[in-house]
Amino acid sequence: MKHLGLPGVFLENDTRRQRLWVILPLLLVLAPHAARLPIWISLAWLACAGLSLFAAERGRPPVGGVGKAVLALGGAAGVLLQFGTVIGPAGGVALLVFLSGAKLLEMNSARDRMGLLFVGVFLLVAHFLDAQSLFTAAYMALAAVALVAGLMLATKPAAVALAETRGHLALAARLLAQALPLALLLFVLFPRLPGPLWGLPQQTAGKSGLSERMAPGDISQLILSDELAFRAEFADARLESRQLYWRGPVLWDYDGRAWGNSAPVSARPPDFEARAPPTGVAVTLEPHQRRWLFLPGAPSRLPATPPSTLASDLQWLAREPLRQRLRYELEVYLDYRLQPRLDAASRARGLALPAEGDQRARQLASAWREAATDDAAIVEQALGWFGAEAFHYTLNPPQLGASAVDDFLFGTRRGFCEHYASAFVFLMRAAGVPARVVTGYQGGELNQLGNYWIVRGRDAHAWAEVWLPERGWMRVDPTAAVAPERVERGLNAALPAAERPAALVALQGGWLRPLRLGLDLLNSRWNEWVLGYNQERQRRFLAGLHPLLASLQGMLIALIVVAAAALLLLAVRLYRRPPESRDRAARAYERFCRRLARLDLRRTPAEGARDFAVRAAAARPDLAADIDAITRRYVALRYGPAGADRLGELEAAVRAFRPTRHGP
């Protein structure tokens, strides 16, 4: 213990160094787990590791048989209390981590050490249940190198010198590099199954995202988050930010405070007319634990996966909440006419308002109705009014009183998209124009490197839809009337300089931007090709290589072919005769000896080259000159001063030496 401060001396102990090569790789693997584990497990593990290292001098383990049993049972009980179970992804991993820590106290045999490292392999792979980013993969690849090096050192009966461990790390890296092609082939060809064999892990809910209710302040929480919502790639590259309204939840009912849906919307398929050819779009949606899927327009046809329904108000819902990253591809009409004939029920719901409250807004709306010739004129009038009056776009609006709409329209006049959308729809309904609130995302950041849009929490938006005769439901964005920059150039441009979130400013511009976009592209491709390599994508990718590969039989045949090729390669490697000698001169001389052996002139193992030459020359005087010349060159090369230029002469002489079986 007195060597604590001197790592060099501390590691002079053989057992300690040997243990270190189990503890270090495990520590690398377990470090990322620590974030999800109860702190007491991490601390117990570290304590066991420390105890194991410090007690290395003593022959027997620091904890006896009873102690071990108490430790294991105590850990199991603790995990059971904390997780409610000791099996399954969370509880099982926690228990395994704890037990691996306890096992650190007892690892004198090679078998103990290998067992621990195998547990390390298991926990390494188990971590991918929690995180699968590119960074995680790279980190775990490094951890794998350490694990493999540990495995090499674990089988040794004694610890190796510190300097030698570097060689083992290099060999571990080389082995893993050699294994990678095989791993990739298996990864591509191993048939993916559509569903789970048993239950799926319970993901923790409560991620940020849109909600099915919109009360003032809800979206501003989301806007401050920089979290990725989804990425989208359009077949048509010429789209602009202001054209992109990603439609999410559609809200019909207002209770005087918040917008929501008090009753389900009609599940009839939407009735729309396309006014321009559709464009293809592929969306990779991050899991948000809710059911909605986002659409930039009206879909021509819904994709088969995920199972979903499209309501009459173009609200698209998956059957199950999204717990995993999802990619969907479809064709959408960006220019369309939605529900040109409005049914009575929808019309009534689109006009409904609370019985009373917000009287000034109602009066303003009636004034517009009286002055206007048709509904479209009322919409124009309202947008003009928002533009002309002193409204401000801000993420820090003052509190609103009991009459939220009146307070906002005639009092504070400061707010952001949800205030404007909410007030606008209220005014429209009060004026007798059917209207509703639509929430979703607007715009996004175009990554020109990969030509796709990155849509984040801060692109969350709310706008209005009004129904006009003949023209159907029309999108109206009152925010754009107040702060056109929001729609043209994103949130940051619309906010007053003092209010721009620091993180957003740093991310949005500056010299880091190309780097950040490049990284995002890499992540996007990673998600698409590695993490999103599911049954459907595999079929499509393999069909692109060869149509036969797209079926299960094709994949199995390909797997068998790959396995056979690998085995063949292996067999060739295993059976290849190791080179007799690495020395070219010796090889040439061996060839010469083989040719003489065909004449029954065999060099005995103990015979020197010169003695052999004398004997051979005596037996075949006709070859004496050649034998002598070759032997002299060889002896000069082997034992004389270095001269690589003579090597060619020797090799040429041996090549030319073709003795016949019977001399003249």
Binding site: M152, L186, V530
Partner: protein, 315 residues
């Protein structure tokens, strides 16, 4: 590590070989170790998990570790393949001791061969590394119970490097062996009297033996004759007490003069006497049934006598 059986293909029985031999693929076997099988089961479990949870990276890393095991296989084989082996000299031992068989391994390659050991049903040698372009002696310590010439029979050269998931081995039999001298009798008896007394009762006079001095310890000296007092006084080497009961000139160590009845016990007695006589430096001769070694002295004479004792009776 427990000694294990030496499996080989029945139609490719190892022959007794002499001279240097090269380990080529034809004579190497490779199979997973127990740890390798456990690793296989672990990978299977991980694959099932990857399928169930649909985790792409779990697939990738599971396949990566599987590839690692497969790639490790030729590495294990290459660790042995191409070595040239030569039987080294084996020093004679007394019965009851362990003989150290040493196998000289030449590595003509430019890479280090690691963790190579010899296995025999009676014992396992220590694992050694063979440096690139160099050589090393692989050792096998086998206990020798009986005197005579003993060939160790089949043994295997064995390696699990690098990963310990595969074991590569070759079963060999070399024409080497060890000469095992009889175990020297543990109690000291004075040398037999001369020829004249041969027929009489050659009662041992152990008690009457006179202390004749100390000499250096030799393997086979009984512990009770070690001069422990000299050791206790701080002597660095062990010394053996010498007793000169009667050391007549022209000492003949005759098997018939040994007091024991059993032939093996007599040989042990004679071995003791030979060692003691050699230690005194006086010339002595050895008579065995059907064989007589004339009186002489010196190391070569000692070896000749011990060999005659070891091989007595056609052993």
């Amino acid at each position: 590590m427990a000694a294990r059986a030496l499996p080989y293909l029945p139609w490719r029985k190892p022959r007794v070989e002499s001279g240097p031999l090269r380990l080529t693929a034809r004579r190497l076997y490779i199979l997973p170790t127990r740890a390798g099988l456990v690793f296989g089961v672990l990978l299977l479990g991980l694959l099932v998990g990857a399928i169930n949870y649909g985790v792409s990276l779990a697939y990738l890393f599971t396949f990566w570790f599987a590839g690692l095991a497969i790639v490790g296989m030729p590495h294990t084989q290459r660790n042995l393949s191409g070595l040239t082996l030569r039987a080294g000299a084996v020093a004679p031992v007394f019965a009851g001791e362990s003989a150290v068989y040493s196998l000289h391994a030449d590595n003509a390659d430019g890479r280090v061969r690691r963790g190579i050991s010899l296995h025999h049903p009676l014992g396992v040698g220590e694992a050694r590394d063979i440096p690139a372009g160099g050589s090393a002696n692989l050792e096998l310590r086998l206990p020798q119970a009986r005197r005579g010439w003993h060939a160790p029979g089949r043994f295997s050269i064995h390696s699990e490097f690098p990963l310990g998931l595969f074991r590569c081995w070759s079963v060999l039999e070399l024409d080497w062996g060890v000469l095992v001298y009889p175990a020297p009798a543990t109690d000291a008896l004075p040398f037999p009297r001369g020829e004249a007394d041969a027929g009489e009762d050659a009662a041992p006079r152990a008690e009457g033996a006179e202390f004749a001095g100390l000499r250096g310890y030799q393997p086979g000296d009984p512990p009770r004759r070690i001069a422990w007092k000299a050791v206790a006084r701080g002597g660095r080497e062990l010394l053996t007490k010498q007793f000169a009961g009667a050391a007549p000139r022209g000492l003949w160590l005759d098997w018939r003069l040994a007091p024991e009845r059993d032939m093996e016990a007599r040989l042990s007695r004679l071995t003791r006497w030979v060692l003691d006589a050699h230690a005194t430096g006086l010339p002595f001769g050895l008579r065995l049934p059907g064989r007589e070694i004339p009186q002489s002295a010196g190391e070569a004479h000692l070896r000749a006598c011990l060999e005659a004792l070891a091989r007595e009776g056609g052993h």
